[in-house]
Symmetry: D2
Subunit: 144 residues, 4 copies
Amino acid sequence: MAMASSTKLLSLVRTITKHMIDDGGFGKLMDKVNITSAGQGWCSAEMIVLHEHQNSGGTLHGGLTATLVDNVSTLALMTTGSGVPGVSVDMHITYTKGAKVGEEVIIDAKTLRVGKRMAFLEVELKKKLSGELVAKGLHTKFVG
Amino acid sequence: MAMASSTKLLSLVRTITKHMIDDGGFGKLMDKVNITSAGQGWCSAEMIVLHEHQNSGGTLHGGLTATLVDNVSTLALMTTGSGVPGVSVDMHITYTKGAKVGEEVIIDAKTLRVGKRMAFLEVELKKKLSGELVAKGLHTKFVG
Amino acid sequence: MAMASSTKLLSLVRTITKHMIDDGGFGKLMDKVNITSAGQGWCSAEMIVLHEHQNSGGTLHGGLTATLVDNVSTLALMTTGSGVPGVSVDMHITYTKGAKVGEEVIIDAKTLRVGKRMAFLEVELKKKLSGELVAKGLHTKFVG
Amino acid sequence: MAMASSTKLLSLVRTITKHMIDDGGFGKLMDKVNITSAGQGWCSAEMIVLHEHQNSGGTLHGGLTATLVDNVSTLALMTTGSGVPGVSVDMHITYTKGAKVGEEVIIDAKTLRVGKRMAFLEVELKKKLSGELVAKGLHTKFVG
């Protein structure tokens, strides 16, 4: 596709996110996620860790981290003009540091490669204040 | 610890699950999950895929699959007498087949190995009716 | 394809392994691996951990473990009548216990699912004597 | 430890690499790998894909890719003053594009985080000429 402007892509990503929320499915938790910027192949978002997001240790639940990796990387993929969200084949998350309730995390997703069949996406979660890495995810989707 | 009976371990796992739900954190989605059996190092559960669990394609959301892998494997770990839920260091999910809204999935978690420092857990999600594999997860936790 | 006999599949797998070795590529290390049995979707092998296989700690090198996961799971895939070895998209290895030089390991690979596009394979490495799990691998290939 | 100079760390990494090769274990394949630079927490290397490195498709074998991820990330870890190579607990590789025999690949490893117990490392393999990503790896080690 022709290179879309960042403004158009941010608008696109926010529209898709709204659909995720309105659909009433598991994507509804995106209503606590603020999409801050997007461009060709990438997407950035922010979220404050709330009580409803915590695990038994009072930090961001690993399953929610995985869900954010899944959702935000799919948004990044949608900016490439793939036209489809694809289907997950593998997702790997490495958890480097806990994020406590009240801390704000940045979620940066980018497309490593998108081909005719497969898309490879990467996500970093960092603490907004300190920049410390919370988690790193790799997400592989079938898009053929 | 002395070998606990399956009845005691099932009771233990159900109590921990109730705490997850009552805590009001991300574990509250366990209120849709039915713990069916448990033993030394393993735990089995069932869940009907509901509209609230779906992705944009109408199947079980990959982030929820990851959350189930996380939670049910942690329950399996707790049956080993570790006494602690541990902290996730890595989680990998392979998605083999979609599960549609209305389908029931079985979640089988088992402990591959638990040492003084690390615990290695494995989870299979299968369709209850057909036995088809929906996803396979590996979860590594620090327990030291 | 019609269900092939285990004898035929074992013969097929051994022939492919011989090609791996004769090719002079990285598969040549399969000359230390003994294929013991094979069937529809699975393959088993054995290897004694030699000095040439060790890491600096005197145990089976994690890169060789990954290579065994790759190769033996590809052999398992070839028994399904896929006709092609496919191309790796993701491989995950969980290392549960070291295997020392002199110990014999069993490598069991099976096909979790093979579709038109993707194949999902799983491998367990165990110590032959004690049955202890050394590593578990998940391997996803594109076969379309 | 006090911040070591890049020259000292490059010298350290090359010495460790020489030990890997001289040991006669699986690390001996590092004799085809050229360590080009190193610093606090990271290490870069280069390798020309040779016939002896290929899979049946004539590209860099996925098991060798995994071995390079393992070895070069361990070198990166050793620059942090950890003093120990650690023990692998998880390794994940995403394969984005094949590298043909004759192509040169760059291997960039960096430390995401190293704590008292766990170290988290990341590796990128790229084609030197085109910059195309060949593979991305995440490697988690126990260092406690």
